[in-house]
């Protein structure tokens, strides 16, 4: 990221913070692009969110887990999800790409009782803070992206491909 882009990002954070929104940034492992995701404003304090991410990033299971992807969703919808979400979650494009390119992926309802999941990776991953669902986590030895799930398979794939080691 260039210096001017960094300054722009900083201004954006400060402006939003002044307006009651909180943003947090997860640096990309490759030192390339950075992603910022809005966390539900007022729900908890931004530093707590960052420290939670830092704590979970230290989990041995996450460090050893490699390139994995978790999507948290809410299936108890009050109204139908947008077509793009439904296709990104249950359609073939994202799943088949992940099958060939990741070390594992999961689509969990946010209320899934995950305590008995056998793989510690998913237990730890599901503890990460998130904003409005559906929410996407991309891991690569640590959380390398966390943000709202884009509203189409093509946009999700773009993010996944950009983060693939």
């Amino acid at each position: 990221m260039t210096i001017s882009k960094r300054l722009l990002a900083l201004c954006l954070v400060l402006t939003l913070a002044a307006n009651g929104c909180r943003l947090w940034v997860v640096p990309d492992q490759r030192g390339g692009d950075q992603s910022a995701a809005e966390v539900d404003s007022g729900a908890d304090d931004g530093s707590a969110t960052e420290s939670k991410i830092a704590e979970i990033s230290e989990s041995g299971a996450i460090k050893a887990g490699g390139y994995r992807v978790l999507v948290l969703l809410e299936t108890d919808f009050k109204k139908p999800m947008a077509d793009g979400y439904v296709q990104a979650i249950y359609g073939p494009e994202v799943r088949s790409w992940l099958k060939g390119n990741s070390q594992g992926f999961r689509f969990f309802d946010q209320h899934t009782p995950i305590g008995k999941e056998a793989d510690q990776f998913w237990k730890d991953a599901a503890k990460l803070p998130h904003g409005d669902l559906p929410w996407l986590f991309i891991f690569n030895g640590k959380p390398s992206y966390t943000g709202p799930l884009p509203q189409s398979p093509a946009e999700v794939l773009k993010l996944l491909k950009a983060r693939k080691p």
Partner: protein
Amino acid sequence: MSFTSELGDAVVIDESNAHEFVHDSGYVERDWDADPLGSEPCAPLNTDPTIPRDDWDELIEQGERTKTFVNHLLDREGVPFKYQASTNFCASNATICAGQAAQVVQGQAFRSWSPASVACPITGFVNKGHWPKQVVAYLSKYGAVPSTLWPDNEINESLFKPTFAARDDNRVAEWTEQPRFSFEHLMTAMLKRQPTAAVFMWMKHVVCALYPVKLPGSDHYGIGCRNSYGPRWNRNGYLVIDEAKANADEMFSVRVVTGM
């Protein structure tokens, strides 16, 4: 919104033809006094609200148009149909079918599990019927053996000990038991993509309920299921049960499949 499902080859079972589908495949009715509703620790009774009927058309239309219901996922993944052959193990076949379908929905790699590996320890290695709650409890506690190590319908006690360690990676840890006879709960599970083992006493059978449909020519809805008689049974291995016949006596929906 006026919408009806495209049912393709599937045969709809309703009041007019239900008698043709009564076949005793080994289901033994649950002992409701000893085993009351919601009594299985890994399968608490579902008390969540159901999705209102007024919303069903829109959700079904979307799932069909985008081909994103559980049957679509299983067909795309090439997940094979279970075939119980001459065993009386419909409860194990249907319940394992639900567990395996949930594997795919959650994003796990499909791996086939042997229904006999669960039915045999439940029945004492005898070809006799049982009920889904027993299968749910066993799958949660011990898991199933992969079909590669224990053929799907083999009743063989000598397989038990050598394959026991392989069960741990193939458990369905958490289930939800749905209220008896509640079509609304079964329909809600289908709309949420929660595969469900469902008992229909009129049929004396257990099937794996996978997807919702809106039936043509009426205001009825129905449930699309995989049967356990292979891919060619009833044209394509599936059956659709009209809501008039789809008030299931016992229902378990999958919440968490553990393992790889």
